[in-house]
């Protein structure tokens, strides 16, 4: 079983829709949660970072973490064609500095927002 499972998609929505992207994890040591956006043929770009349960907002993006359910989500409001990309969740455990603080990634969800 993978430590991180991400809804595989692909997801296709009309412009203006609310998008929900989701990951579940099995390792209760994970304390830090990130969402990356990756455009085609580009490197991933950090979108959101959070370490506490609850919601964190940044413009049209909201990251939600539920540690009791081991579930994280990224919501995109008023989605735009420019949001079309692959979204990757990533997480890391506390206290792993000496072992490189590795991130464990989901496999990504491809999102297309149609004009």
């Amino acid at each position: 079983q993978k430590e991180v499972e991400q809804d595989p998609g692909p997801l296709s929505v009309p412009e203006g829709a609310i998008v929900s992207l989701n990951c579940t994890y099995s390792n209760s040591a994970f304390q830090y949660f990130m969402w990356y956006r990756q455009y085609s043929r580009k490197g991933p770009e950090l979108l959101m970072y959070t370490y506490s349960s609850g919601n964190k907002e940044d413009g049209r993006f909201t990251a939600q973490v539920d540690k009791s359910s081991k579930y994280i989500s990224l919501f995109i409001r008023d989605s735009q064609p420019s949001d079309s990309a692959t979204y990757l969740c990533a997480m890391s455990a506390f206290g792993e500095e000496t072992s490189g603080s590795r991130l464990t990634f989901g496999e990504g969800t491809q999102l297309t927002v149609n004009p």
Partner: protein
């Protein structure tokens, strides 16, 4: 501000040829550095990471190697490429004590 560079951007190499990919980071010191490979439509596979000059940890046994000759330089190498080495290679860095990693633009390698 910090910037991460990778080169070359694209590479086509025959099977059995050597490989050298370079990554450099500007605007920070003593970063952790990472090499990842991403197969088409797949997630990121961590290949190597480094917490300091000359310190390399390997995550997956394969015919690739990594070196860190300077604080902000990370090199991925192979003596003889295999077809299965094709993919998108990404370098990333992070600050000591923080968890967020920042990625470079990537190198797309095709082994023919």
């Amino acid at each position: 501000s910090q910037t991460i560079h990778q080169w070359p951007a694209t590479l086509v190499q025959p099977v059995g040829s050597p490989l050298s990919l370079e990554c450099t980071v500007e605007g920070t010191s003593n970063p952790n550095l990472y090499w990842y490979r991403q197969a088409a439509g797949r997630g990121l596979q961590l290949l190597f990471y480094s917490v300091g000059i000359g310190q390399i940890s390997s995550e997956v046994p394969q015919n690739l190697s990594a070196s860190r000759p300077q604080d902000r330089q990370f090199i991925l190498s192979s003596k003889k490429l295999l077809l299965s080495d094709s993919g998108f290679y990404l370098c990333a860095w992070k600050r000591l004590g923080l968890d967020e990693q920042y990625f470079g633009p990537g190198t797309r390698l095709t082994v023919t």
